[in-house]
Amino acid sequence: MNLDLESIINSVGRRGTRTRAEYTTAPAQRLKQWWVAERMAPHLLEYQLDLLNEVITNCRSLRDYIEETSLTLLDEAAVESLGEETLRDVKIKLLLVETELERAKFVARAYKRTRMAKIDLLPYYYLQQQESQSGIMSKDEWVYCHHRTELEASSYYKGFLNAFPTELQGLTDEDGHISMIETPDMDKPVVVRVNTDIGTLKIGSEEVELVKNGVYLLRFSAVSDYLEFVDIL
């Protein structure tokens, strides 16, 4: 009975909330939110360089821990000195750390892959954006985007563009009414959960009140200035 009471007190006490706050704000968890948002948003979001670096640094430390521990486990003398119970704890911790490492690696990779896929969809647009608004792509993303468009252009040129008159060979012409550069559809509807009362926004022809904890399907452009107040689902 005593134990039970104690565990109830513990479960509502500071200990629980501390885990919650610490886990949900860990770098890998925050990067996960950016991955989810990146998947649903129609254009590239601000590159999370610092956050990604933090996750990678943490992954390296976890990898070092795994290497060290695995080496210890290979050393028979060391294993014997540990005792059975400690050995079991060491092994399960190793398993937990390995799992955490794989999860963080998955998130980091998924984040990068999503961004690359988005660059693949509209490479000329992002190249143009990078000039006016540096920071939308990371350096390696820019190099990738640049090479990609060059390769594509030279392949098209060799394939068929060289048969065209010179003035029709461009791939990024903006003369006349229609630009050749495809742009993202900023009005793509997305689903968001509002995390702070935002108030009333004019969306299309209507005024919509965005209330805390409300879940809404609405066009991305309506909330693109409020990304810190909403979670994209």
Binding site: S7, N10, A26, Q29, I92, V97, R113, P189, I203, E206
Partner: protein, 187 residues
């Protein structure tokens, strides 16, 4: 290498299961396990028979090693789910309150820790299944995108949302185009 177009519309079931594994859950450890530094966050020491909150993936590993009991969340209970089911039946316009990832969480918990259930697993599963069908039906019949600016969908679960997101999004986008064309015409 790259993603295909459908992946920009919704998340797959396995991705949702991955996301749900980060939800926190209460366990009753059977053995002590000292504090663990995962670099980005710290798991405080686990003490035998003292409830602790841990991410679901961690709970599942400990459970498989027989090192903890999983405490079922309050909502994962046959009696509670039945009241939800009733409320769900009464109100055809909205969804009754369940955690956002209720389907993924209950799938994992029931699969990994059926023996830790205080009530009847079969009854919980049956009620969950009924809830799932009822809510899906509601989605099929009830959600009308009749508005080009927004659609409120409080209480929807992640599995349900990702099922209907592609079609809802496309419908709303079409409505926007029609509306824009009308406005151009009236000007």
């Amino acid at each position: 290498m790259s993603l295909d177009a459908s992946q920009f519309e919704a998340f797959s079931a396995s991705e949702l299961a991955f996301l749900a594994e980060d939800e926190l859950i209460t366990i009753l450890p059977r053995q002590n396990l000292s504090r663990m530094d995962f670099k980005g966050w710290v798991q405080p020491a686990l003490r035998a028979l003292r409830r602790s909150e841990v991410p679901l993936w961690l709970a599942v590993i400990l459970k498989r090693q027989d090192r903890c009991t999983i405490i079922y969340p309050n909502w994962l209970d046959a009696t509670y789910l039945k009241t939800v089911l009733e409320a769900e039946g009464r109100d055809s316009a909205s969804f009754a309150a369940l955690p956002y990832m209720w389907q993924e969480l209950s799938d994992t918990i029931l699969a990994e820790a059926a023996e830790d259930c205080q009530g009847s697993v079969a009854e919980i599963m049956r009620t969950l299944q009924e809830l799932k069908e009822l809510r899906l039906n509601k989605l099929r019949q009830g959600v009308l995108v009749n508005n080009d600016s927004h659609l409120r969908m409080d209480g929807i679960g992640s599995a349900e949302l990702n099922l209907v997101k592609p079609i809802l999004s496309k419908t709303m986008r079409t409505l926007q185009t029609v509306k824009d064309a009308q406005e151009v015409e009236t000007v």
